[in-house]
Symmetry: D2
Subunit: 363 residues, 4 copies
Amino acid sequence: MSSEFGKILKVSVFGQSHGTAIGVVVDGLPAGEKIDPEELQTFLDRRRPGRDPLSTARSEGDVPEFLSGLEGGKTCGSPLCAVIRNSGQRSGDYTELADKPRPGHADYAAWVKWNGLADMRGGGHFSGRLTAPLCVAGGIARQILARRGVYVGAHLNSVAAVSDRPFPLYPTAELFEEVSRKPFPVLDNEAGGRMREAILAAKADLDSVGGVVECAAVGLPAGLGEPMFDGVENRLAAALFGIPAVKGVEFGAGFAASARRGSENNDPFVVKSGKIAAGTNHAGGILGGITTGMPLVLRAAFKPTPSIGKPQKTVSLSAAENTELQIHGRHDPCIAHRAVPVVEAVTACVLLDLLLEGNHGTF
Amino acid sequence: MSSEFGKILKVSVFGQSHGTAIGVVVDGLPAGEKIDPEELQTFLDRRRPGRDPLSTARSEGDVPEFLSGLEGGKTCGSPLCAVIRNSGQRSGDYTELADKPRPGHADYAAWVKWNGLADMRGGGHFSGRLTAPLCVAGGIARQILARRGVYVGAHLNSVAAVSDRPFPLYPTAELFEEVSRKPFPVLDNEAGGRMREAILAAKADLDSVGGVVECAAVGLPAGLGEPMFDGVENRLAAALFGIPAVKGVEFGAGFAASARRGSENNDPFVVKSGKIAAGTNHAGGILGGITTGMPLVLRAAFKPTPSIGKPQKTVSLSAAENTELQIHGRHDPCIAHRAVPVVEAVTACVLLDLLLEGNHGTF
Amino acid sequence: MSSEFGKILKVSVFGQSHGTAIGVVVDGLPAGEKIDPEELQTFLDRRRPGRDPLSTARSEGDVPEFLSGLEGGKTCGSPLCAVIRNSGQRSGDYTELADKPRPGHADYAAWVKWNGLADMRGGGHFSGRLTAPLCVAGGIARQILARRGVYVGAHLNSVAAVSDRPFPLYPTAELFEEVSRKPFPVLDNEAGGRMREAILAAKADLDSVGGVVECAAVGLPAGLGEPMFDGVENRLAAALFGIPAVKGVEFGAGFAASARRGSENNDPFVVKSGKIAAGTNHAGGILGGITTGMPLVLRAAFKPTPSIGKPQKTVSLSAAENTELQIHGRHDPCIAHRAVPVVEAVTACVLLDLLLEGNHGTF
Amino acid sequence: MSSEFGKILKVSVFGQSHGTAIGVVVDGLPAGEKIDPEELQTFLDRRRPGRDPLSTARSEGDVPEFLSGLEGGKTCGSPLCAVIRNSGQRSGDYTELADKPRPGHADYAAWVKWNGLADMRGGGHFSGRLTAPLCVAGGIARQILARRGVYVGAHLNSVAAVSDRPFPLYPTAELFEEVSRKPFPVLDNEAGGRMREAILAAKADLDSVGGVVECAAVGLPAGLGEPMFDGVENRLAAALFGIPAVKGVEFGAGFAASARRGSENNDPFVVKSGKIAAGTNHAGGILGGITTGMPLVLRAAFKPTPSIGKPQKTVSLSAAENTELQIHGRHDPCIAHRAVPVVEAVTACVLLDLLLEGNHGTF
């Protein structure tokens, strides 16, 4: 297992979906940082399920208890530990799954890895529920970043075949705030409406759909990150692939850049009010692994929720023969919209880590 | 700087394009492994420029000298160091660039990071030339992997708007070998012809094009990798974004999965000749960060070469005003086809590292 | 902050002495390992204070609650989190200390590091109380190691000027067990009696004494550890210096070897019942950073408890002038005897980590 | 293998004593730092053997060639690679050793680890010769540190039973310089004379002696290092145990503190010229893993050179029977005096790494 990321700021997640509690240890937070619990709860509520018909009916409280790291509402220099108690465990729903690995889930890979000894009910440590403690860490990082003028925001870039419009060249903290308050986090509400329809249609078919989350950060200084293997892209990608269901990560124009010519894709440098900027941002704010001072832009692709109500082909591990599986219980027909704050959370943690590490180019 | 990746097998690259030599230290190679120098050279030659009109006319010898780590043609348990001497340095070509950051290059980000003190001629440590020592490490890893029945291969998935056909569900070592011997590494030669035309057209316009490399690995056991932040995807992505010009990485269906329904994207498990396999491989051989035993499939998107002959808008760093830049010298109109062995090399190093680490699920 | 050690098995400690709870996350435990809670509690009780006049009168329950990582009494493959609630916090005792750094404590260094923002009451994250969660991790590691025939034990090597006899050339699991059951963990009870007298004499003088803990491990295979900077000594030393009050670490003959001749210090190899062993063990079971198969032997030096009742010279941070400090409250006149299981715990965690990593010499 | 240490500044050593070359890659050096090659060579010459009858007669040139990382005599932001070619290899001397592991050497442990496949002639990667590239890295780090007012120096604390006087409470850069220019690096020349006699007496007996090196650093700010497992002591110890033959490391009073009372060992804080200092320095400049601003003081114990001319008992690996070994060739009767600059080098690298990482206590 390796449930941790970060170099100076280390975020370590623990818990199984059906254990006593899940939680996170955040090691390396600077001391003296006020944490606003209401703002944090508002952030956590953005990923909470059970709020509308688009999500699972499970009700998760997601109210963290802080065991350490805070003193009088401020970080105190010790590692912060926050736990969220599990409730409403209904392992009964999962009995059949012990023998029949769910297609698209880690069940089979985990069964091989742990010789059948790992607890796979509800996904065990692979459960999407583990994104709740990630959001605790990220919600705290976001508050510390905002105090330094660094803002992280995201929107649902696409669901199924429906796309939102992209972030503008210079997204603002206000825009991030506006999107975050929407029940469905898109820039273009009309597109959002069609995405909801696509999700509900999948739900009606006992099926699911995937989506893409676009995340941006503004206010970062130029010069962060190290070339080659410890750059901003390397570190963000390594962390983002830790979010369950992510199968692709791209920066700036990303895959689309591969179809372009250099003259289209290169961002011309311009002097703008005495400062050097770029006229476009196909680089997504990163060149050679190092921030350019332009907004950071990335996208993470989420596969459709693997848990679907439709009957699926699978195997019986005990009998070593083909069989069928019908997953009962309540499952999200799409997780991409709930993943929007999770992508923000992971991005915020990595960026705070980079800022804490600082720029070692000269000394 | 952080020019290293790997946990048990550590690959550390050094050198600037215009220094005395470039090279690599590979720490953690198992002892007693025979390294075939001709096979290695054949592998290195695949990324070498100057072989046809599609690449820069610079001739790079790329013949590594081994300073340590080999004894009688076998790894001896000590870190292996290989160096490639630089020759034909023509720093004169790069004088203008000290003041005018090249659009799409790391020049500006590096200028901020190092207060103007880093050597940016030819890209310094950001140079694509640093992929030569990466290929030395990867070429060695490939030989060790092949001895265990693990084969890594890649092809040019697309250039500009032209796509090759994808790898079949079960690519073979023979297919990898066949593609690797082609002067232009595609599965479908007709598509390859059109890709070449797209590259030559860009070249004629003093422009460049991007492309996508698809890489696969067969023979991996199930159960490798750790969930969440130390999985196979996290580690591969972190390393692949270290290859210059990569702006996106995806596994299996990747971004395309986000537009699909769960019932389409989930790979059904099937018993096949007594073994458990998957009927499709949209997961790209990885679920929950752990290998499933199906072929590993990934794609890396390369942006168009930023160095183009067309005049471009940029700024003068000294005058802090807008200006124009025309890059002279010889540059690749496309690097994606030369990047094919580089993606194989990085993938091979990460996979060997994972195999050396082993499966710690049980003990 | 960086409250973690380990490579495959990661132990991450959290908590302040006066927060809600302290605890530990152990990431990387193999699945399916039965954990005997009584045996664990017996181990934890060995470091508990309040058992006799030699320790502080504070009563710490030290009964861990497991929030994750166990399923039916066995490790389940997820990170294990155990918390110990704090009780009987009496921060009143510590008010004066905010302005007057205690000599020998981290107060002043922490005050500089955290700009006065860290919580230093009772030592904050530096508190010896953090060794309780370390013992939870180590107690679990010991059980897993014992199941593989690897046994870790320790005794109090010296207190003040009184020395115990050293471990024999081949200590046994039975000897470790015997010492661990003694209220005062020495091999020679008569020496133990004199150590107790030295501690009580210091206590009567409102003073404290230091001591040395000797730890051994038997049953380790030869070939573990990597040469130079990732060897068994490097990793053990790095972790052991994380135990509060440790100021020196040595292996085998250690510092005494520096006064010897090579002909005395070299351990002759001998064939013994068909196996290669060493006739003496001045190397402490490690040569070149790698285990030799002989028992591992190390010693850690603990300084005298810095908290003493005697008036001490210090400064007022606010007034920037010399002053005096008299520390009230209950403090251990010696911590070395309570540190015996802590040294075992840290050693066991590092050894389990090394065993999980395995021997990558060949493949 | 794992031949690297450091977090921001990574030092990676490569080479076998009988390969083509040995060398070092230093990744993370800040750019724009002038490196004085003569000062560096003077530093390297301090560890060179063959200068007097106390050392082996082998003549090692130890003149590094810089392959990368320097531009116009200054660091350029790329990883620095320096190589030292091997010459005068006389593997003939080592033939017998392939079957008879030398007592006190890593031969046997390495033979197990690498299944007999590692190159053990002259110690392979375990060779003391690898300390030459370490000194290249450390010599560079020392120059960068000195430019910031941080000075690192060391002396021979003891050889056999003869002790030098310790460093004064506040050693100065001038004192470090003075000791470094002596052919035998002690503070008290009379004691140095007796040490030389002890070494020559051992040599005459075809034997060897050990010694202790004391190292200090002045000019460090308070607040460096992280509590528990990433403190200054943890990182220095982990690196120092990478120097061949080190069997013990202690800070400040170290093991001697264990025999003291708290009232003796605690360093009283005092206001001195308006600044907070300590009246004694038994803590060696570190409390709770964090620098206090007082001089850093550490000692490393070196065992006697294991290669001695006296006949020794060992085993034949092939015959699995007891035998005798007489090591021929030229060997140092003591390495502790030559290790003085090596301890400085490793200490300097770790301290520069800590300074580059900075103090993340607040943000």
